[in-house]
Amino acid sequence: MATKQQSRTPQSISIKGSCDLVTEFFKFGVNQILFHRGVYPSDDFVMVKKYGQTVLVTQDLALENYLDRILKQLNKWLLTGSVTQLVLAIIARDTRVTLERWVFDVTVQEPPPTEDEAPPPTKPEAAIQSEIRRILKQIVSSETFLPNFEDPTVFNILAYTKQSADIPAEEWVDTDPMAIEAGKSQQVKLRSFSTDVHRIEAMVAYRYEE
């Protein structure tokens, strides 16, 4: 048992690093969306230097705590590889109609089978960061084609996990996916980024009625 764990150590370290990186991306991504889509008033956000650019992060403690709790759990799921998708749904506060779904597909990349003991080539962090930067910029730019919200909105974060996933029953509950009806939905694929272990593909679907 112990020897088995030891042999896996280098791999698991890189998994952990990758999970942290992905979690951090979600934190800034979600903040970016909440700010630019006006879910929370802009006064609540402060500028922070991250990924070589300024990003906006909420300073509303309640929201900060809320996101922290979610991201902590997400990190655990990422470590066990049990989360397949993360969705940030923006919902009209009064009618509870889903207006936008920001979908992030999480794929665990199988390392290519190597015959010799040589470690697989690692992706430089600078490259990953520049990919993340591009996604964040794309989130900002998607403001230009997304419809404006007339009414106040709230958000909800959904996690798609495998059946086998370990779920804290007190905190997470099964829910409906808050999908937008297929006929009224427009979908736009965003960029993706990948670490050595994970690949994140982003997409936004929005309600578009003529």
Binding site: V39, Y40, P41, D43, D44, Q59, D60, L61, A62, L63, N65, Y66, R69, I70, Q73, T84, Q85, R93, V103, D105, V106, T107, R134, Q138, F145, P152, V154, F155, N156, I157, L158, A159, Y160, T161, K162, Q163, A165, I167, E170, E171, W172, V173, D174, T175, D176, P177, A179, A182, Q186, Q187, V188, K189, L190, R191, S192, S194, E201, M203
Partner: protein
């Protein structure tokens, strides 16, 4: 082929192959080339290649987004939004192996600044609230109180020359919008609409506590142990309770608190000798007297809204609850304590929307709010559950449930640095120690009004330093939207805290239209 496409890319934006251009209509040229190239790679997509940016054609996304690793082109099939039966089928065939989960709590609501209110004041308050919450627990979602509450009192009344010696429950607000307060023995009434103030000359011994029992009649508890009803229109004083009802003549027996139950026309009076007496105002006599806790000052008594239970808060911190049908009392205890509280229970409140829910708070330096659920079976045996508790950093002097929303308001007295010996002091010595100058640290809930959410008791809204000194008592207005507080800074202040219930408003707007 790849060499030709790469040679095209740098210089020429104009396409060279017209036949291909016809098939690729809506993309700009650079992207169309990528697409073409990737199709020539026979599905072996380059990792570093960025995906197309604005690809709004539905055709491009025909791959199933719920099954991200699937490479074959499936028609879009919304697995999760389908019926339970098809979900079951899908699960059996292995199409649906994911669970959709969401976090239990709602995300915190953004603050909505109402058009009428002063935005600068509001944001300033919110900022200060946030600063305070850094040291306290987190401050979160908020509904009625934040929408409607105002940071300034809507009316301030001066209690003038009156000395700042108050008894725990000195005031009451009648259904006719008249506020009455027992201030240093005298009874002062204030008509809310006309702002007319009247001081009722006192006869006999000083009034300690009072409560309205109808639009013009109030029950008055006196220092000498008499319980009387006072009709202010007819100026008629009727004695219904005598000090000797409680049995002992020698113990101090001033009436500290009265509570009226409209169901049975009963008045409960808590006295300083620890007895709780029940009077029928029609018969003008005592029907029962509970003397099970001698010498333990009954500080607070409160009937529950349907008049079945009476909650009694004692000086020692004991909270008792009596079932009126059997006259049997039982003590409320949290699971790991012997008593409900460690110090005088000055605040008790029953929820108007759930007659089994009781909130209690104590006058300790670091007061605790506890929520209880009392349930009784038909056989007369009553049980209770301790629901929740929350510590505050100052004395809790009163609690009020909102009748319209699930929120609880607490008023706070001063903050006394915690020392174990002090918490065991009795009420009278504590009151004396107040007059001495204490080293008071700047603790946020000191002298504040705080609105908590039910049942989590999270702080929703706060008016810091509502009074210049400790708040003694609060009463709810007859319409349930305002709160009057009485403070040791010799003022009565009236605060708009809650709004009307949403359904009520909707119903009234519906009623204004008639259908033919």
């Amino acid at each position: 082929m790849s060499s030709s496409s790469s040679s095209e890319r740098p210089g020429n934006p104009v396409p060279k192959t017209p036949s291909r251009k016809r098939t690729l209509d809506s993309y700009d040229e650079a992207r169309s080339k990528k697409r073409r190239r990737s199709s020539l790679h026979c599905g072996n997509v380059d990792e570093t290649e960025p995906a197309p940016i604005l690809d709004s054609t539905p055709k491009a996304d025909s791959r199933d987004r719920f099954l991200p690793s699937l490479t074959t082109q499936l028609p879009f099939f919304p697995l999760h939004s389908s019926s339970p039966k098809s979900q079951r089928l899908a699960r059996r065939f292995g199409l649906l192996d994911t669970r959709v989960l969401s976090y239990r709590d709602e995300p915190p609501h953004p603050l909505v600044i109402q058009a009428g209110s002063d935005p600068t004041l509001f944001t300033r308050l919110f900022c200060s609230q946030q600063l305070q919450s850094r040291t306290l627990s987190s401050l979160p979602p908020t509904y009625s109180a934040v929408k409607h509450a105002q940071v300034k009192p809507i009316r301030v009344l001066d209690t003038g020359y009156m000395h700042n010696e108050f008894h725990p429950h000195p005031c009451s607000w009648s259904s006719r919008n008249v506020i009455a307060a027992a201030i240093r023995g005298a009874i002062v009434t204030h008509e809310f609409e006309t702002s007319r103030v009247e001081v009722l000359t006192d006869r006999g011994f000083a009034a300690q506590t009072l409560e309205w029992i109808s639009s013009s009649t109030m029950a008055v508890g006196r220092e000498n142990g008499f319980v009387q009803t006072l009709d202010i229109q007819k100026d008629l004083l009727t004695t219904i309770g005598y000090p000797w009802d409680t049995g002992s003549i020698w113990a101090p027996r001033a009436v500290d608190t009265v509570s009226f139950c409209p169901e049975g026309q009963l008045i409960a009076a808590g006295r300083q000798n620890g007895s709780v007496a029940y009077y029928d105002i029609r018969a003008r006599s005592s029907i029962h007297c509970d003397k099970e806790r001698p010498t333990d000052d009954a500080v607070t008594v409160k009937w529950n809204p349907d008049g079945r239970y009476l909650a009694v808060g004692h000086d020692s911190g004991v909270v008792r609850c009596m079932d009126i049908r059997t006259f049997k009392s039982f003590d409320l205890k949290p699971p790991d304590h012997k008593k409900a509280h460690k110090s005088p229970v000055t605040a008790l409140a029953w929820a108007p929307w759930d007659t089994h829910i009781l909130a209690s708070g104590n006058e300790e330096a670091q007061g605790t709010i506890r929520l209880w659920s009392i349930s009784g079976s038909e056989s007369g045996h009553s049980t209770y559950t301790h629901l929740h508790s929350d510590r505050c950093l100052s004395e809790i002097t009163s609690l009020q449930f909102s009748p319209h929303t699930k929120e609880l308001l607490s008023t706070h007295g001063r903050y006394i640095p915690h020392s174990p010996s002090k918490s065991r002091q009795s009420r009278s010595t504590r009151r004396n120690s107040r007059s001495r100058d204490l080293l008071i640290e700047p603790i946020p809930t000191k002298h504040a009004l705080v609105v908590h959410s039910y049942p989590s008791l999270k702080r929703v809204y706060m008016v810091p330093d509502a009074h210049g000194d400790a708040i003694v008592e609060s009463v709810l207005s007859p319409d349930g939207t305002s709160i009057m507080t009485i403070g040791e800074d010799e003022t009565l202040r009236i605060w708009a805290i809650w709004g009307k219930r949403e359904e009520e408003r909707q119903r009234s707007s519906l009623e204004s239209f008639t259908l033919r």
